[in-house]
């Protein structure tokens, strides 16, 4: 029944952040950049093919379908709330404060680890490129470059969301084109040499399960459009559209990339380039123009991913700051640029320092990258599962539940949990150091939440801030005879 007008604020709880600036294409850029598809295109198929063999394409199609289903669930929220913290506020609205915080913290871990990995990725590729002109490669050079990458990204992001979105989009497009071109050239060369596009059969059923999970990690980040909803023009249309189309477009790109890498020689050819996971051990092996273009493209892609992941990270921290879940200083915005500059400035040094320290300890960029990406994947997967469960709960709470979201939400959540279980029992996916680190970080999160909740008991009520309707959005306060500025 009609419940009467609930309390309407005169000022949005997320005021201070830029409003209605980004075009649809820029929102799409945020989602795509946080995924860094070009880096994935040249690495993941090579990782998946040994496990899945001929089933590789099916594996990527399955992952794309699963992620499209997650995108559908996110869309249920994105058409109803203008969020600033994406999945975090969605899960809070669906499942309440504690699961919401769990999902939000998990995403913070995911975004932070992805940003760390991309900072290191960008620095390593730059180092490899500089190595071509004779600079001594090694951890010190990578550390210096990582600091430069971090500083540059920070300046761009503090300067304004529109500027960073534009740059992100431009370099990501360049990166995808460069990676595609490199793959096509390698493929054509191998066909000319007489290779047949075939790979062996799948190792076993359980290996395929692990392969699908691995393929899923190549989509994570696509949900991050939800973190710039307030900053988007026409957010109720732009954000759901970006989240709906990104997994489909990525699926097409990955299937294309996987198909090109099925012939053995292509994989070896690509492998001999200093690609992501062989860095820096074999850098300098390939010196053709092809590998230079590819390195440039992947450097660009990693840099875009630094911007994408840190933007999402800072918006989530900003929302938590406004709620008081983390110190309220994180909820401040720059008075001129309207960006969450405190959250950005606090996050960036950590994003640079952790991978650099890790690198000095382990000595191998490859190990650090894999470790960070694994931790990051844990963060995303938990958040996705929670979100799928939250979707029907949220719709039921607001009285708009229909059949399809229940089916999609429950099926997707079940499929993801089953997949994780399947992979965990079959391979050492979960039983690694990454899982231990992730669990530890989640415990830290639980401690943070417990402390904040004890200090201000009403915190659960304040959680889940989003850009809600304010008095001036309503017709009820409308005065026809007056000019508004």
């Amino acid at each position: 029944m009609v419940s009467g007008t609930p309390r309407i604020r005169s000022r949005s709880p997320v005021a201070g952040l830029e409003r209605a600036r980004l075009s649809f294409v820029q929102v799409l850029g945020q989602s795509v950049s946080a995924v860094a598809p070009s880096a994935v295109m040249v690495t993941l198929p090579a990782l998946v093919i040994p496990d899945a063999g001929r089933a590789t394409i099916a594996v990527f199609v399955a992952a794309a379908i699963l992620m499209t289903a997650v995108g559908y669930c996110i869309g249920q929220f994105a058409t109803r709330m203008v969020a600033v913290s994406g999945l975090y506020s969605y899960i809070v609205k669906g499942l309440g404060a504690v699961p919401g915080f769990g999902g939000g913290w998990s995403l913070l871990v995911g975004y932070a680890a992805a940003a760390m990995a991309s900072t290191l990725g960008a620095a390593s590729y730059l180092a490899a490129l500089l190595g071509r002109v004779g600079l001594p490669a090694g951890s010190p050079l990578i550390a210096v470059l990582a600091a430069i990458v971090g500083l540059l990204a920070l300046l761009l992001m503090v300067r304004g969301v529109q500027l960073s979105a534009r740059i992100m989009l431009a370099i990501e497009v360049f990166a995808i084109v460069a990676a595609s071109a490199a793959l096509v050239v390698a493929f054509v060369q191998s066909i000319r040499e007489g290779a047949t596009p075939s790979a062996g059969g799948a190792k076993s059923g359980s290996a395929v399960g692990f392969a699908v999970l691995l393929a899923i990690t190549s989509f994570v980040g696509f949900e991050s459009a939800g973190t710039v909803a307030r900053e988007a023009r026409n957010p109720f249309v732009a954000v759901p559209r970006a989240i709906r189309w990104t997994p489909i477009a990525l699926g097409v790109l990955y299937v294309f990339a996987a198909a090109l890498q099925l012939p053995e020689p292509v994989r070896q050819g690509v492998d001999s380039l200093p690609i992501v996971l062989t860095l820096p051990d074999t850098s300098g092996a390939g010196s053709s123009a092809l590998s230079i273009v590819m390195e440039l493209g992947i450097t660009a892609s990693w840099f875009a991913c630094v911007l994408g992941s840190t933007t999402a990270l800072s918006r989530t921290l900003f929302a938590m700051g406004r709620e008081g879940v983390v110190p309220s200083v994180f909820g401040r915005t720059h008075h001129r640029f309207h960006t969450p500059h405190v959250a950005l400035t606090a996050a960036m040094p950590v994003v640079v320092a952790v991978p650099v320290l890790y690198l000095f300890v382990s000595g191998s960029s490859r190990d650090v990258l894999i470790g960070l990406l694994a931790v990051s994947a844990h963060g995303y997967v938990l958040a996705y599962v929670l979100l799928c469960v939250a979707t029907p709960a949220f719709l039921r709470r607001i009285g708009e539940l229909t059949r399809l979201p229940v089916i999609v939400g429950v099926l997707t959540a079940t499929a993801m949990v089953a997949l994780v279980g399947w992979a965990a029992f079959s391979r050492a996916y979960v039983a690694g150091a990454a899982t231990a680190v992730y669990v530890l970080l989640m415990l830290v999160g639980a401690a943070v939440f417990a402390i904040r909740a004890r200090r201000s008991p009403g915190i659960g009520e304040r959680m889940g801030v989003y850009d809600e309707a304010v008095a001036e959005d309503l017709l009820g306060r409308y005065r026809p005879w007056e000019v508004r500025r």
């Binding site: 029944m1 009609v2 419940s3 009467g4 007008t5 609930p6 309390r7 309407i8 604020r9 058409t79 109803r80 709330m81 609205k93 026409n234 109720f236 249309v237 709470r397 607001i398 009285g399 708009e400 229909t402 399809l404 809600e468 309707a469 001036e472 959005d473 309503l474 017709l475 009820g476 409308y478 026809p480 005879w481 007056e482 000019v483 508004r484 500025r485």
Partner: protein, 251 residues
């Protein structure tokens, strides 16, 4: 929205009708009505109702309230409200206008403003304004009352989405930067003029009428022959004084 989308929606009269029904129902039920209620009252499939509501929210005609389940009409409906309201001038205000008309030998007119348009509230019966209301609204950049409205906005585009001015006379301002400079002058001097910009021989001086909060609600304008420009400008202090007396009678 692309051109394709628009062409498509034109071919879905049923969807448009249903959307209008939903909008009517939000208006009828009042602030806070839920999607479920609307679906029940219209006997419309719930999934369809929810989708239409989300589209209307996306366009700003309907607002989803902070509890996320209630709906209310949005500011965008203001465009329809603006078109429906008619300016009414109370007897006290007409008296003020009458006094002013006795003291000057020019046309004295009172205009009201909606957010994006000028509305004639009381035109001088003896010396009628040079052009009618719809002509003024089509050429806001060429008349004094229109320029007062434009000077109020931080962005010209919020009133004139496409800057395609027509040179009505040789003196009409058709260069965007010149208009912006003119609007700056209007803001600093606190009144607007039109000197043979609308019609060759016509001139106009307009002062703003502001509400207690400082919002522009109307303007008091003097119209005459362009040769009498200096005489008209001499009346600005008197116009301002009368505008101040009119303000509480209008807001």
């Amino acid at each position: 929205m692309s051109a394709d989308d628009r062409a498509l929606s034109g071919r879905q009269p049923k969807a448009v009708t249903s959307a209008l029904r939903v909008l009517e129902e939000v208006a009828r039920a009042g602030s806070g009505v839920t999607a479920k209620d609307i679906a029940a009252r219209l006997s419309m499939p719930s999934a369809t109702t929810y989708r239409l509501l989300n589209i209307l929210v996306g366009e700003g005609y309907v607002v989803r309230l902070p509890d996320l389940s209630g709906f209310a009409l949005g500011q965008k409906i203001g465009i329809l409200v603006d078109a429906a309201v008619v300016p009414t001038v109370c007897a006290a205000a007409r008296e003020v206008l009458g006094e002013l008309r006795l003291s000057v030998r020019f046309g004295v007119h009172l205009f009201f403003y909606t957010n994006v348009a000028v509305r004639t509230a009381d035109a001088d019966p003896e010396y009628p304004p040079p052009e009618d209301e719809s002509f003024l609204n089509q050429h806001l950049y060429a008349c004094a009352v229109g320029k007062l409205l434009l000077a109020e906005k931080s962005e010209l585009e919020s009133v004139i989405p496409r800057w395609e001015p027509r040179a009505l006379t040789a003196r009409t301002i058709v260069v965007r930067s010149e208009l912006l400079a003119n609007l700056d002058l209007i803001r600093s001097q606190g009144f607007a003029t039109q000197l043979a910009e609308l019609r060759d021989a016509s001139a106009c001086v307009a002062v703003p009428v502001r509400s207690g909060t400082g919002a522009l609600v109307g303007s008091l304008a003097l119209s005459g022959h362009v040769d009498h420009e200096h005489l008209m400008l001499r009346h600005v202090p008197s116009l301002r004084e009368h505008a101040e007396r009119l303000a509480p009678l209008m807001a």
